[in-house]
Each structure stands twice: as structure tokens, then as C-alpha cells.
Amino acid sequence: MATRTLVVDNGAATIKFGFADEDMPYRTFANNITRSKAERKTFVGDQLETCKDFSGLYYRLPFEKGLLTSWDVEKQVWDRLFNGKIVPCDPSTTNLLISEPILNLPNIATTYDQLVFEEYGFHSYTRMSAPQMAMYNEIPRLYGQKMTSGKKRVDCAVVVDSGYSFTHIIPFWKGKPILVGIRRINVGGKLLTNHLKEIISFRYWNMMDETYLVNEVKEACCYVSNKFWDELDICKKSPRANKILQHYVLPDYSAQQRGYVKGGSKSKQREEKGKGQGKMDLDDAEDETNDTDSEAGANLDQSDSDSDEDMSEPNEDEQVLTMNNERFTVPEILFNPSDIGMDQAGIPEAIVDAISSCDEEIRGMLYANVVLIGGNAKLPGFRKRVANDLREIAPSEFDVRVGIDKDPFGYAWKGAKRLATMDEFASEFKNRLVTRAEYLETGSALCESRFRSAV
């Protein structure tokens, strides 16, 4: 019976999935159930693409603090995915390769097993954490080198996975994670978006309801700065001299669906991506009344010291959100969680801490093979900043190389796809799989032991 392999990267924010044997790139959709107050409809997972009005979207996420706790939400999303509505997937003839959070709790892990086998009836499956999936890629390519011939994968690397819920630092040795070296920083995309929402709501418009829109704004405008204090000083200047100031045009529903950054030159080679939806309320009201309010307002009335708004071009109905120092102070939290009062070290320090807890002999190799993956790694300037900061605090005798793929978001998925398809990994892959028959005989403990000890 021919089996296909379905590779699913089950993240807290989005699911990346695709069949391993197809050449198509992975597809992605949001891993949650959203309800739109405006349209009075509920969208499960990818149904969100059919939504027209993204204001006041209310989320229900299956993940909580990075672990899958809300199974009924997740199940609804998985129903759509696995029951063939999105991709032609027949569970009984499919191998499932699914990702789980790092350091997953054992009781949650058994629920994964239960659901996969008993509920959907997959033929066989394996689960691994996303950084482990990423390790199957050709990592030396990130540094412009080729893989040493004869070797399937690098001996060791440090994977920095900065995603929605957290940021993890995991050193790997020969494909297995070095457990004592795993570190977690509780800053992720969700915290950054919430923080940005709060700042914007205090300084400009009240966007406390508009999670989706603020997420778009974050992705469109934010970047990681390399010269933090210098750029902060620049932001204090008048708009003519202030190159960092950016305007994000907020959409309304009648004319436009999506927002964009006005004046593309400041946006560091990012095209004006059409993103964003949402409405603005002038007051901090709970009710979501529509465009009528927004038209009445001037561009900014609650603005504070740094946003002198004389550079507004004449626009009839546009509402503009000004992004000044928020553009780079928000991602700064990844590097200094103490900025908002969190008592944790940032990414570069955590990397040093993680590597220092590993054996002395391999530390040099670990410093030379740092890989960044995850959604937050897409921020412009991220790699350069990590490399600079790490070089500053790492011991001077070691070489520091930080690599990032063109698409850090899907790097883990690509690694898993290589695992599932390439011949070099075929035996490893087979050893990891647990078939349904075996599960029904022995139970969850088999899954636990096999997934941990394999490779």
C-alpha cells in the first residue's frame, strides 16, 4: 500500500503543511479559530482567507504559553486539514510528520498520539520539534559553503527558533539536542504584538481590539536596529531629518481592504506589501462603529512629543498610523527583555549561556554554526544584530558565524521534507515512524521512547 507523507509544522501561530513528495512549496494558514465581530462569522483555520473584514477579530488559540492545551480548538483546525478539505489527504494511507513544541509535556504528548491514531487513523506518524526538523537541511549552505562530502548533516549547530510563543536556543550534537543546553526566553511574536498594541493605543489610536491589524503593522514596519541609541536620537528630530519615521496607512472597509506603508523609500527594500485590515476608533470605545468616526478625525490628535505631523500629504479619507521609535524598540525586546521589565537575558546572552553549558571541545564548532529560524527571524536586520552582539560577548578565540535562510519561516518544514524524501535519511525516517498497528498494541510509551532515542 503506497503511503504518502504529509509534513506538518504545527506552530502556535500558523500551520505549515504540504506533501513531502510534491514539488510545491508548503502552504500555510493560521492555526486558530477566529471570529469576526463585524461579519458575525467564525472562521476555522484557513477559512480566514475568505474573510473580508478583519477588524475586531477575536482569536481562540489552541496553544497556551507554547504548549497545546486547547484540544477542541486544535481538533477543529485539524479536521479541516486532515479530512481532505484543503489537501487530498487520506489518513489511512498517510504517514504524518508533525512538529511538537520543544520540551513538550508528556501528558500532552500522549494526547497527540491519541488523536493521530485513534481519531484520524493515520497509517504511521512521527513527531519531532521544529529545530530538529531544521537540522536536516544543508546548513553549511547558509554560510556559503557546501556540505562536506560523505556527511549527511552537520555535526553540531545551535538553532535559535524565535517564534510566536517563545524563543528557544538549542544546541545540537550529531542531530540530537543537547538537553542541558536548551534555553528558553519567554518573548515571542505574541508578546511583541501585544506590546506594540499597547504602545500604539497609548500614543496614537486605540487599537486594542485589532490584533490582526497590529500584527500586519509589525510585520510591515518593524525592524531590528544595529545602532540603537543613535537611531533613538534620530527619532527625536523633526520629520524632515527623521528618516526612521514611517506612515502606515490604515484601511477602511469600504474603499480598501489592506493597509500599506506610505512612501516606500524608508522601508528598507520592503515593497509596499498590501497587508492589514481594520478600523480605527478615535476614542477608546468598546463598540466598533465604522468609518464615520474615522473620517472626522485629523491625522493624529493624541500624539506625543516625537510625532510632529506636518509631513502629512493631503489625503482625503486616509487614516495614518505613525511609526517612529516603535519600529525598532519593539523588536529590541528580543535582545533585551529587561526593557519591559522581564527578568531574562536576551538572545545573544542566552546563546552564550547555552553554549557554555556544553562540553568544552565542541563549543568552538557550536559558535561557528548558529542558525536562526522562526517567524521573528524575518525581521530585517535580525541576523546582523545577532551576529554583532554575539561577537561582542563570545570568547575571542572562537569564530562566530550566524546563518539564516532566505525563508526562516519555512526552514523547519523544508528540513522535514528532506527527511521524508531523501534517500540518505530514509532509514532514519523509517526508524522513527510508529505505525498504527504498533501503537494499538503497545500504546503511547512506545512513541515516547522511539521518538526520543531515534537518530
Binding site: 501528558n107 481519531e119 546572552e349
Partner: protein, 236 residues
């Protein structure tokens, strides 16, 4: 602690002492972890009474009664407690609601629901209520036909507690390991470098601190804005 108010309930203390400021900070950080960072002041009363009446114990099946037949109310967002130590009750009696600080309203609501949902062990019992809200208005629940699985719906803290016990027994078996690494211990420790302070109003360097509440500001203009809008506007 702070000076006791002379009359009645709500005379706010003049100055916040460090303990209160720490509590405020902790509450703020917790609120940043929430999924839906939304002020739900006006729903609080409705939902609290409804929650007391709703069925929310133990494992639930996918179809059960819901509170809100029309699906108009947004479900309660579960206030996620602090993860370290699994302590859930760090949020004190947050009673004052202000539009600028929606996190506080969650604190107030959180406390009320703790009182009203005794059976489920507190923290995320609201999620089961909200589950009910969704399942009515949304898509048909089980696309699978014959069996409706009973999914264990436990709050995260309960799961954490259970697994901690599991890992402890594992440790006793495995006595070679010196460090038991799991979800809780992988947390990164504090930084070596001192904290950088930013103005809470504009985001520049926050050199000065408000006398009363301890939030930072950078110059006189920001101080004025702070006093007008945010100073002592909410207490925990």
C-alpha cells in the same frame, strides 16, 4: 504598605511602594501573554453570572450547552497565570477599570471567575465556557461521524503540575542525571547587564521617575502627559 484610606473604599494611596510596583509589573507582563488583549469591562458582569451557572467540570464533549445562543458576546479570554511555580493567583483584587489598561480588567474579571468556578481548579475554566460559545455559532463540530471524542480539557497549570510529578519520578529512577531538564527548568535566567529605562510616554530615554507610581518619563512634556493620563489610574 501604603497609607490606609481614611474613608470608604476607593481612596487611592498617594505613593506606590516597591511591592505594589512589582505587582503591577508582574501583572502587566502576564497580561502581555494573553491571546486577546481586549478590554471586556462591560461583559464582565454578564459573563460572571453566566459562568456560575454553566457546566464546566471535568472532560467535556464537543457539543455541550453554551451560554450565548446568538454568539454575540466574545468569549472570555483566559487569563494565563504566571508559569513559574505554577502559581496562578498573583493577580490581586484589581477593581478599577480604565480604558487605558485593559490588562487590569482581566485581573478583575479573573478574580471573579475564580470565585465562581470552584470546581475546575481556577485558572482557565473560562476557556471551557468560551468553548461553548464557539461551538454553537461555528461549523458543525465533529466531521468524523461515529465517535465524538472526549478530549481532556485541562488547564495548562494542571497539566504542568501533573507532568512535574512525572518528571520527578523519572528523576528518581534515573539517578545519573544531575539536572532534570523540562519545560520549567529551561527558562533563561536574568541578564548580566543592567536594565535600560525608557520613557513610558514617548519611548525615549526614561531618566526620571514619577514620584507616585514609579513609571519613567524623559522630560517635562512627557511628565505632564503622564500625570494627565496614566498616573495612578489603576491599582492592583
Amino acid at each position: 504598605m501604603s497609607r490606609k484610606p481614611e474613608r470608604g473604599a476607593k481612596a487611592a494611596p498617594k505613593v506606590l511602594d516597591p511591592e505594589a510596583r512589582r505587582r503591577q509589573l508582574r501583572h502587566h507582563l502576564d497580561s502581555l501573554e494573553r491571546d486577546n488583549f481586549v478590554a471586556l469591562n462591560e461583559y464582565e458582569a454578564i459573563i460572571a453570572t453566566a459562568a456560575a451557572a454553566a457546566t464546566a467540570q471535568g472532560p467535556i464533549s464537543l457539543t455541550h450547552t453554551n451560554l450565548d445562543p446568538l454568539g454575540l458576546l466574545p468569549p472570555l479570554s483566559p487569563a494565563v497565570g504566571s508559569i513559574v511555580g505554577g502559581v496562578v493567583g498573583t493577580v490581586g483584587p484589581g477593581a478599577v477599570h480604565s480604558p487605558n489598561s485593559p490588562g487590569v480588567s482581566s485581573g478583575g474579571r479573573y478574580k471573579k471567575n475564580q470565585q465562581s468556578n470552584i470546581g475546575t481548579g481556577g485558572a482557565n475554566s473560562n476557556s471551557s465556557n468560551s468553548g461553548s460559545n464557539f461551538s454553537q455559532t461555528a461549523i458543525p463540530t465533529s466531521a468524523l461521524g461515529h465517535r465524538k471524542p472526549v478530549l481532556p480539557r485541562k488547564p495548562l497549570n494542571q497539566l504542568l503540575d501533573e507532568s512535574r510529578m512525572m518528571s520527578q519520578t523519572f528523576y528518581q529512577e534515573q539517578q545519573q542525571q544531575h539536572v532534570v531538564l523540562n519545560y520549567l527548568t529551561a527558562n533563561m535566567g536574568p541578564s548580566r547587564y543592567p536594565q535600560r529605562n525608557f520613557c513610558s510616554v514617548c519611548g525615549w530615554k526614561g531618566v526620571y521617575r514619577c514620584n507616585r507610581c514609579g513609571m519613567r518619563y524623559c522630560d517635562l512634556r512627557c511628565q505632564k502627559t503622564h500625570n494627565d493620563t496614566r498616573c495612578m489610574k489603576f491599582t492592583i
